[in-house]
């Protein structure tokens, strides 16, 4: 679904590369191919550089108008692919890099990654020792490379999603998308709840929708009414072991992160929209 929205935003002159992840399977086994664009599968840690290689070839052949997109999971981005991603970002490669983040290694059966949030169950962070570290902030890492464009998105906000991909299409240089992608078995939610859970992640400010331009200018795209994180956590089996204390800890962390983000928005724009104030106080 996220892929459909992305391609809606990018049009049809797109070539993609996908590393080892759930999408290795989703596109279909040989000789099937579900996507309507040329696709090169690549090794787990190489999405960013494989896309850069395709880009280089298209550039020497004078096909600069073709968009090259890497589409990778959180493991392939936050962990094993980070080195190649950092290289591509630092060189400001003219590609779009999308990480669809389901917060664990799902392809191999739900192991923790550095995108797994504090408190979550996975098969390598069992309930007795759930994830003890906060999720790695990949957007800040990408912003630190001062790339022209980085944005978050989720399928629960399709208009925002497509608008951002349309915008990104016309920017030259490294463009990065962080997409929160609920995974029903991994998050222990019913499949028909995916969109609702994604929406709740935004409404609780666990996953804010925002853009960072040139690594510095921050714009929050959606000002949530502000609901307690408990509403988000309790929808998912992977968090059901959490104590009130742990939930409070998460709440404080989320509030703090949100304040930082709002501050950056204010720094960028000089002021805050009216709806902002409410988000800073309400829970």
């Amino acid at each position: 679904m996220a892929m459909r929205l992305a391609l809606k935003g990018l049009g049809n002159r797109v070539m993609a590369t996908i590393p080892a992840c759930c999408w290795t399977i989703i596109d279909g086994a040989w000789p099937n191919h579900a996507l309507k664009i040329p696709l090169m599968h690549t090794a787990f840690e190489t999405a960013a550089i494989a896309a850069s290689g395709i880009r280089a070839a298209l550039d020497v052949k004078g096909e600069e108008d073709v968009t090259v997109m890497a589409w990778a999971g959180d493991g392939g981005t936050f962990d094993i692919g980070l080195q190649a991603l950092s290289g591509a970002a630092e060189r400001n490669e003219n590609i779009i890099y999308v990480t669809y983040d389901n917060e664990a290694y799902m392809n191999t059966g739900i192991q923790r990654s550095s995108a797994t949030p504090y408190g979550a169950w996975t098969t390598t962070t069992p309930v007795k020792h759930p994830e003890s570290r906060p999720k790695k902030n990949i957007m800040e890492i990408m912003a630190a490379h001062r790339i022209p464009y980085a944005a978050t998105a989720t399928i629960a906000f399709p208009d925002d999603f497509v608008r951002k991909f349309r915008k990104a299409k016309d920017i030259v240089g490294m463009r990065f998308f962080h997409i929160l992608s609920p995974c029903p078995p991994g998050w222990k939610i019913p499949s028909d709840m995916s969109v609702k859970v994604a929406r709740m992640a935004v409404e609780t400010k666990v996953f804010p929708l925002y853009e960072i331009e040139d690594g510095e200018r921050v714009t929050i795209n959606y000002w949530p009414e502000g609901r307690p994180v408990r509403d988000y956590l309790m929808m998912q089996g992977r968090f059901k072991h959490l104590t009130d204390e742990q939930i409070e800890h998460i709440q404080q962390f989320v509030d703090h992160q949100w304040k930082r983000l709002v501050h950056l928005h204010e720094l960028t724009h000089g002021s805050l929209p009216e709806e902002a104030q409410a988000t800073l106080t309400s829970r």
């Binding site: 002159r13 279909g28 996507l35 090794a43 290689g53 880009r55 280089a56 070839a57 190649a84």
Partner: protein, 391 residues
């Protein structure tokens, strides 16, 4: 060919001969990472790209793993791709070497042989390239700077016909940093020999297809069968193109090279720059009436079984001198040569000498001693006869 009159002889280091070969081959994407003793290959290419002398994109990647992954992306998107590396860098690429061959990306890479760490060494040894032997790459070993330049052009010519990547291999320092006169061909002649790269299976917007998708047990094996068949085809094409090379450039190349071999009772098998020392020594031994010759291995993958058998059949004894080792086994060329001779009637006894690891000099005197040892040796011998080890 008449055009060759415009060739120029230039004094080039081995590394720069490779860069010039890549330039003449009109590589379009270079994706590379520095490592001694390879670095000056890509430095010169980077200058050529910067000055506009070579129309190509140079990707300054953050690792060798990415260097190879970038080449694969470029090659599968329709560009002629090149990189170069050594030792640790080659080992780091290992996963992507399998990937390049499996994805049938006809990349050409130069590997400057360097001993693997630890302990750290920057000097020559072939274990780095030979331990990549099962990745599906062609491997061409070079004795001189001219051969290195020529091999780049020849490698693209063969690789692109059979869609198998090719590694051209040269020794650290002995070739990479040593200057020799090298004939640099006019661009028109190279263009006439090596047409622009076209990959009918490249990523294509008009006919979108997926490259490298999951293959279940019902289909995977056929992919591997085809890669093996491509290697078998590569052997034929390599021999054919090696001969055609002479029509264009005045030099012919084969899978092996013979030196004083015709009437030789004793044969020394070598690869790489050590061959030159062996040639010098054998020429002297010949003057003394010794019936000794050299078989130089140029093409290691695909392995020229037939040529090796024909070259060694009926000899009295063979010494394979390996500047490499497969621990727990023996020298790698040694075991490969023996496998080629298995049950060949008339196959001579073969002895495996290991010499020159980590760049230790192999001097004419060492070659003489190996030859003397060979003459008096009886089978069976240990799988490794060490030459020059201080224990």
């Amino acid at each position: 060919m008449k055009l060759l009159e415009n060739s120029t002889y230039t004094v080039l280091k081995g590394n720069h001969a490779v860069s010039v070969g890549a330039k003449l081959a009109r590589v379009e994407v270079i994706s590379a990472y520095p490592i001694t003793p390879q670095t000056t290959i890509v430095e010169l290419l980077s200058e050529m790209v910067a000055s506009g002398e070579l129309r190509a994109r140079f990707i300054t990647v953050e690792s060798e793993h990415s260097a190879m992954a970038g080449c694969i992306g470029a090659s599968l998107a329709g560009a002629r791709a090149f990189t170069a590396t050594s030792a640790q860098g080659l080992a780091l690429m290992h996963e992507m070497l399998h990937w390049a061959a499996g994805a049938r990306a006809p990349i050409v890479m130069a590997n400057v042989n360097r001993a693997m760490a630890p302990p750290w060494s920057i000097w020559t040894e072939q274990t780095d390239s030979l331990s990549q032997r099962d990745t599906g790459w062609m491997q061409i070993y070079n004795e001189s700077n001219q051969e290195a330049l020529d091999s780049v052009i020849l490698a693209y010519k063969v690789a692109e016909q059979v869609r198998v990547p090719a590694m051209i291999v040269l020794d650290a320092f002995i070739l990479s940093h040593t200057s020799e006169p090298v004939e640099v061909y006019p661009q028109e002649v190279v263009d006439a020999y090596l047409p622009p790269y076209e990959n009918p299976n490249a990523l294509n917007l008009e006919h979108p297809h997926a490259i490298g998708s999951l293959a279940d047990p019902n289909v995977y094996m056929e992919f591997r069968y085809k890669l093996q068949k491509a290697h078998e085809e590569a052997l034929r094409v390599f021999k054919e193109e090696g001969q055609r090379f002479k029509e264009y450039f005045g030099r012919a190349y084969d899978t092996l090279e013979a030196f004083y071999l015709d009437d030789a009772d004793y044969v020394l098998v070598t690869a790489g720059s050590m061959t030159s020392t062996a040639k010098y020594t054998v020429a002297q031994l010949r003057e003394k009436g010794e019936k000794v010759g050299i078989l130089k291995i140029r093409l290691f993958r695909p392995f020229p079984f037939e040529d090796v058998r024909n070259a060694l059949r009926g000899r009295k004894k063979v010494a394979v001198i390996d500047r490499n080792i497969s621990f727990g086994h023996s020298g790698i060329f040694y075991s490969e040569i023996k496998s080629a001779l298995y049950r060949d009637s008339g196959a001579p006894p073969v002895f495996g000498y290991i010499a020159g690891l980590g760049g230790r000099d192999v001097r004419p005197n060492d070659i003489v001693e190996i030859y003397e040892d060979l003459k008096q040796r009886e089978e069976p011998a240990e799988p490794i006869l060490w030459k020059g080890v201080r224990v």
